[in-house]
Amino acid sequence: MKRLVFLAPLLLFAGLVGWFVAGMDRERQLPSMLIDRPAPAVTLPPLLTDRPGLDPAALAAGRPQLVNLFASWCAPCRVEHPTFMALAREGVPILGINYKDRPEDAIRWLEQLGNPYARIGTDRDGRAGIDWGITGVPETFLLDARGRVRWRHVGPLMPEHVPSLRQALAMAARG
């Protein structure tokens, strides 16, 4: 009985490692799940007064578009932000999902760095994030004209990823 007390830390730790292994597995299963499937039908309230939020109709807009999940507290989002500003200037439509963020922080963030998004939906509790199966922010998805996921990028989208994005865009445009 007394030995059990000293065994307890080991048993607890073994349980913890089990959880971690399960958690890591989850991380690795996700990447390809949504590819070529319709994007999750989420309806999200707008973040800004002058831009609409997200709804299922907006996701199938008749032309390819990007969906980017971002948050003001996420440093890699800040890193990738100029890439989106550049893409938006080229006319690539970008939909934003503001993930687990305080709206006032997100608005400030956009005021400070600029707003590349045509629509922004707020996902305060991270539920849309689950539907999209993200492992963290930032993540970016390319949808085709009918709103199917064609391409996914995990982590900050940097200039070196843009060529592969362009290729995916061209493919998506052809259908």
Binding site: L10, F13, R26, E27, H81, P82, Q112, D125, R127
Partner: protein
């Protein structure tokens, strides 16, 4: 060539680590003095090998050798020299090299300064240190080799993330690592003690300086990180309960508990099993911190790299090191002799209370950090645990802890008189109650926590000072006597005072931040904004070229009663490589408040780029916030002062005499 040399040195270090662990451990088991004597020289060789690898990588960074992939990904020729050097550890691979070189340094230090340890304990400590090093060296060589070459070599590097190009962050990781790795040594001591089957006052006296050193470094590292977040992220906040912040905060909390429980082992030969468990768990949390950061298992500000292979490897390492340690604990701890007895109301009792509260606090932070992951794994959906949870669970634990912190040092060992102790604090009670009532009155309708925070800070700082005043018989003896006593106070006592006062100062600062005033508005040049008694005039923005960035620098004139007090220049920097914008807040720090200005985006109408642009501006008045870091500095100094006391006492000439006097006071074995 140099890079290959570094790589080769790393491989050599792995083999040396095998020798460093196997031979001394075998020697200690067989009582073979020759094998045990290998330990110090193997530890020196290990330090040499890891040192060469670190130097080789630093050389590659300093000379901008972009044929090394790691340098290409993280450096740039235009980068200032400081950040070329800090770039060495500003990335995953390099930070691991820093980790092993620090570990080797600490292992070798046991060889240099550990002549007074029993030979078998010394051999075992160095051996266990070698075992942990094997794990890390394998990790580097198999998943994270920093010396990989690129062919053809690129002409220019990609540059270090501009957010990381900052003096605060240049030294934040090395400090944290010195702390984490310092706890690897206390872990080695715990394992060696379990293997020896003997944990006594001498063991505790050896462990304490290492705990102190690790704790002081970790305190400095966390404070630097929080300071960086405060001035670089531009939100005016200093702590976010972010998973990665928590990852460094948990070992700190448990390390603080260890720091205190080791005192009981040393002075009273009690709490041995508990202290060993704490030593193992503190290092476990240090490793867990690394795992959480490297695996990307949690979403965080810091999630720069998501790499499941590395995460899996760190998890294996964690399982092997901690699992092995805890298994040994389950096997050997029951055989440790329980030590001296004591009453609940006593110095020991106070330290036990400290340990209970700190451990519970660690557990709540742990749960809050990992709960989202737990819930998700069982399919309970995603939740986020934010500051409300931590404020609701952590603060209630800190209140009794702080209350006890002022009383504990006044209690005697074994059995104490709580009434007497409280009587000695009557004046402090009066000031504390008066102070918080005054705050309550002056700040009607203000933050609820403010009077409580002020009360805690006053109680802790004044209570600690009362203890010193009693020690030196202030106002009871002639001033000259008091001064003489003050100078002759044991360094450890001074360390206690500084540590507790520093903590009180930090609480004062944290409380002050509840009164932060924030103003957000768009300003045209010439506009004036009032903030906390100042008139702040926006004078305009000009462009400026920096070493590797283009800067838009705003000029703000701060006036009081129509007289100019300061000119502040917050900036936005646009870096070329990697392309990124950072905000450089302009902070004017007075002792009792910070004035904090951030320049936002211009609100440009289509086509117009005139000087009449409106700019988004955020201004903060942050009362007492500088005390947070002042408190941390005082705490670190306290740790170092206390450390100098230990070194003095375990100095070679007196090493027989002193332990004999204190250790045999109440022998339990």
């Amino acid at each position: 060539m140099i890079a290959e040399l570094g790589h080769y040195a790393l491989i050599l270090a792995l083999f040396v680590a095998v020798v460093q662990s196997m031979l001394p451990l075998m020697g200690a088991a067989r009582r073979d003095a020759t094998l045990m004597a290998v330990a110090p020289s193997a530890a020196n060789a290990q330090l040499l090998c890891c040192g060469i690898a670190f130097a080789a990588l630093t050389y590659a960074y300093v000379t901008s050798d972009f044929s090394v992939a790691n340098v290409y990904q993280n450096s740039h020729t235009d980068k200032p020299m400081l950040y070329k050097v800090s770039g060495v550890w500003g990335n995953h691979e390099g930070s691991l090299i820093l980790w092993v070189v620090t570990m080797a340094l600490f292992g070798a230090a046991v060889g240099w300064f550990g002549a007074a340890l029993t030979p078998s304990l010394r051999a075992r400590v160095i051996g266990v240190q070698g075992l942990v090093a094997i794990g890390f060296l394998l990790f580097i060589l198999f998943t994270s080799n920093p010396f990989e070459r690129l062919s053809p070599a690129p002409i220019q590097g990609e540059g270090l993330n501009p957010l990381l190009q900052d003096p605060g962050l240049a030294f934040h990781p090395p400090m944290l690592y010195l702390g984490y790795v310092g706890f690897s040594l206390t872990f080695s001591f715990a394992i060696a003690g379990l293997l020896e089957g003997r944990l006594d006052a001498a063991w505790a006296r050896w462990v304490r300086p290492w705990v102190l050193a690790a704790w002081a470094f970790l305190t400095a590292g966390i404070a630097l990180g929080s300071w960086w977040a405060y001035y670089e992220l531009g939100w005016g906040g200093w702590w976010f309960w972010d998973p990665v912040e928590n990852a460094s905060f948990m070992p700190w909390l448990l390390g603080t508990a260890l720091l205190h429980s080791a005192i009981v082992v040393e002075k009273r030969d009690a709490l041995k099993r508990w202290t060993v468990l704490l030593a193992i768990l503190t290092f476990a949390l240090s490793l867990l911190g690394t795992f959480l950061v490297r695996s990307g298992i949690l979403t965080s500000v810091h999630s720069f790299a998501v790499d499941p292979t590395r995460g899996m490897f760190v998890l294996l390492l964690l399982a092997a090191v901690v699992g092995g340690g805890l298994a040994l604990y389950a096997w050997r701890a029951p055989t440790l002799e329980p030590g001296g007895l004591f009453q609940p109301i006593s110095r020991e009792g106070g330290l036990v209370l400290n340990n209970l509260l700190l451990t519970t606090a660690t557990a709540t932070v742990f749960l809050g950090t990992l709960y989202p992951l737990f819930l998700e794994v069982v399919g309970g959906g995603r939740v986020s645990v934010g500051p409300p949870y931590f404020n609701a669970t952590f603060i209630p634990l800190m209140v009794p802890l702080v209350a006890a912190m002022a009383v504990g040092p006044l209690l005697a060992w074994k059995r104490a008189d709580i009434k007497g102790a409280l009587q000695r604090l009557w004046a402090v009670v009066a000031v504390t109650v008066g102070g918080s009532l005054a705050v309550l009155w002056l700040d009607r309708g203000g933050p609820v926590l403010a009077p409580l925070g002020i009360a805690m800070a006053l109680w802790l700082i004044l209570g600690t000072l009362v203890e010193v005043a009693e020690r030196i018989a202030l106002f009871k003896a002639p001033m000259s006597t008091s001064l003489r006593r003050l100078v002759n106070l044991p360094r450890a006592a001074v360390g206690l005072t500084l540590g507790h006062v520093g903590c009180g100062l930090a609480i004062l600062g944290m409380t002050g931040s509840l009164w932060t005033t924030e103003v957000i508005r768009a300003m045209r040049p010439g506009d004036v904004q009032q903030l906390a008694g100042y008139d702040i005039r926006f004078d305009g923005v000009e462009e400026r070229r920096g070493a590797n960035f283009l800067s838009e620098q705003g000029t703000f004139t701060v006036m009081r009663d129509n007289a100019v007090v300061w000119v502040l220049k917050p900036e936005k920097r646009r870096f070329d490589s990697p392309p990124m914008v950072t905000t450089e807040a302009a902070i004017k720090s007075r002792l009792f408040y910070d004035l904090y200005l951030v320049l936002g985006e211009p609100d440009r109408r289509e086509g117009a780029r005139a000087a009449s642009d409106r700019w988004g501006v955020r201004m903060y008045h942050e009362p007492m916030v500088p005390f947070i870091w002042l408190g941390a500095v005082v705490m670190v100094i306290g740790g170092l002062v206390s450390l100098s006391d230990r070194r003095f006492r375990i100095g070679a000439p007196t090493r027989r005499a002193v332990p004999a006097g204190t250790a045999t006071g109440a022998p339990a074995e």
